[in-house]
Amino acid sequence: MEEKHSNPLESMNSNDENPPVSNSINKSVDSPPPRGDHKFTFHGSYKQYLGLSLYNLLLTVITLGLYYPWAKCAIRKFLWQETEVDGSRFEWHGTGKEMFRGFIKAYLVFGTLILLINFGPMFLPPSIVVWVILGAYLLILAFIPLAIHGMMRYRLSRTSLRGIHFGYRGVLKELYKKTAFDFLLTIITFGIYGSWLQINMRKYVLKHSKYGNVSARFAAGGGDLFGLTIVQSILIMITFYIYIPWAIIRFFKFYVENTVIIQDGKEYNLKTNATGGGYLWVLIKGSFLTIVTLGIAGPIASLMVHKYMTQSISLSGGFNFDNIEQTESAYNDATGDDMADILDLDF
């Protein structure tokens, strides 16, 4: 199970939703970060999150879903503001209104395509229906880079720490050029090449992600992810799925610890001390709570996971949070954010 809401630091430097991990970087599983490391802490109260979730739910139900972008925005404000590093909190600058505009645009595009796929057979002549549906699927595929690009631009530009905004400088055309071939290979190889596609995209996206004058890169390659996937899949199978929480943490570690932060030419590593056992324990507690309360405590359970993952992360001590310059200009198009949401992408 992944975190429901990505937090600021994930969008800044790691992708996490299906977290993995490389073998080389898995030495100190349980050891706490050395003194002086910048540890991420999460202060959010479960009670407040439950209240916020129910408040959002009520308004969303009453408005038949139209309130959803404002709900999402409020949740993000909560998650971002409760995440602290080096004594400062992350800030979410996005607004419900911006996200509503993105939501409408994304739904116009995807709503049409999804309706076409599902209801096309009802009102299209059978002779062309297969082609129309195939075309719609390809279009959805073709929107993935656009969605990632839009999401990164919006999400990073609306996130700040110590008054310095994050930002994404990638060029959409370049992302398409870089990934078109990878997409093709992935289709031809029935998904096997997907690991390379994913990593190449991540490399590009991270390379163009900025935090003021701080930049980042992704250190691992597609082969690493592929190998990891094979090994983890085998482990999951031979343990009859018991290994799943450990596998999820391995992937999480892979993404976090291969993310390198570059400040003034020096590289700093992100680390996580999350463990499969720790993660499993959080899952058990959360599930128990959810079941006992007939689902009402669901938001608490998802926040427990979020907190566990966030608090496991630290950045090497040498990084200087006092010495970052503002380099971004304002940006406010949220379309990509909701596209990514519909496609269930979370970078």
Partner: protein
């Protein structure tokens, strides 16, 4: 008042001193001998704290924002207390938080109430309204497409189709639709209706039926589905319920999967029990109006009851042997014999039990005025015999 000031150009935090003035806050550098003025914030330009958290920071003005970070709660609260009328700390959510656990409980109860209201009143109302607004021509058009798609998977018995159509025409059932009936070759004991006036009868059910009144009952039932626009109403109801579920789970994005489920509903053409009952009773009335003995419908369900009893045993065996293919999709070849058992299982779950159907039909039968005379139509007998191959 001490705080940290961030100027929005670099991440450096500077210790500063705040002085609260009327409508604005003066910020001065603390480490400087001259206490240099860093900024003056007008309270109306302090950015809104939509969601108050444990964060103790304020942002100001346009991008790049200046910010203040407070080392203690006291400092942060002092600002809010000093400017109680200012907008930056006011939001409907923050007002809601003031109710604490009571607010949470209230929100929970309201969610449940609103959902129930919507589920039992809103969704059906919305669905019926929508279904009514769809023009008949469009409904027929949808049905036409379905028909073409389905016929790809079915083998039509053209001789029997002509006979059953003539049989149907002689029934003189009232319908606003131009109804056409076909017989397809299959062992499956079933029949179904498509929106806009198209009825498919499997040859399997013809084997079971033993007289023309039972067949008239079957067709009356199917025509009632068409007349009642049940397919359309069912899809609309599912969609309305989906809207509720999507907003409840916050997963508006996941609507693709629900839509797929909806299409499955369409493809399997399984009417809800409610619609089945409606079709039974409406069909019953259709028969009476056409002076046909409605006991034929009771007889039909008695036969179907026997079939389902023996089917249930087979289904259990079949499902334990092959439980992998219980799903249907729109392009499903569910009419191929291999999946027919699951198809039958589905009918069991979405239709009222035959015993119940016989019960309420017999009740209806008892209510029919005794003066009503049923007639025996020679042409119906004639076409029925032809259909049975006599």
């Amino acid at each position: 008042m001490k705080a940290y000031f961030i100027d929005g150009k670099t991440s450096k935090r500077r210790e500063c001193e705040l002085t609260f003035l009327e409508g604005n806050i003066s910020i001065r550098y603390l480490d400087d001998a001259f206490k240099k003025q860093l900024s003056i914030w007008r309270t109306e330009e302090i950015l809104k704290l939509d969601v108050r958290t444990t964060s103790r920071s304020l942002k100001y003005g346009d991008f790049p924002h200046e910010a203040l970070e407070f080392p203690t709660d006291e400092g942060f609260n002092a600002v809010i207390e000093r400017y109680p009328e200012a907008l930056f700390h006011q939001s409907s959510y923050n007002k809601f938080t003031a109710f604490g656990w009571k607010g949470i409980a209230g929100a929970l109860v309201s969610v449940v109430l609103v959902s129930l209201l919507f589920f039992f009143y809103g969704a059906p109302l919305l669905a019926e309204g929508f279904a009514r607004s769809v023009p008949k021509e469009y409904e027929s058009y949808i049905g036409e497409n379905f028909r073409e798609t389905y016929l790809q998977y079915l083998t039509v018995d053209s001789t029997k189709s002509v006979q059953i159509q003539k049989f149907y025409n002689n029934l003189r059932y009232e319908s606003e639709y131009d109804v056409s009936v076909v017989v397809v070759e299959s062992d499956v004991v079933n029949a179904f209706a498509l929106p806009g006036g198209f009825i498919v009868v499997y040859s399997g059910i013809l084997e079971v039926i033993s007289n023309e009144e039972e067949l008239a009952g079957l067709l009356a039932h199917e025509v009632s589905h068409i007349n009642g626009r049940h397919s359309l109403r069912l899809i609309s109801r599912e969609l309305a319920t989906y809207l509720l579920l999507a907003s409840l789970t916050g997963d508006v994005g996941g609507f693709s999967s629900v839509l797929i489920e909806n299409s499955n509903m369409v493809s399997s053409l399984s009417f809800s029990r409610e619609f089945e009952k409606e079709a039974d009773l409406e069909g019953f009335d259709l028969m009476v109006e056409s002076s046909l003995n409605p006991e034929g419908m009771v007889g039909l369900f008695e036969k179907l009851g026997n079939v389902t009893d023996s089917l249930e045993n087979k289904i259990v065996k079949k499902l334990t042997l092959d439980s992998s293919s219980t799903e249907f999709s729109l392009d499903s070849t569910s009419f191929h014999s291999g999946i027919a058992w699951e198809k039958a299982a589905e009918i069991l779950s979405t239709h009222p039990a035959p015993k119940n159907r016989i019960q309420y039909l017999e009740k209806r039968l008892a209510g029919v005025n005794e003066s009503v005379k049923y007639s025996k139509s020679d042409s119906l007998v004639f076409y029925f015999k032809k259909l049975k191959g006599h």
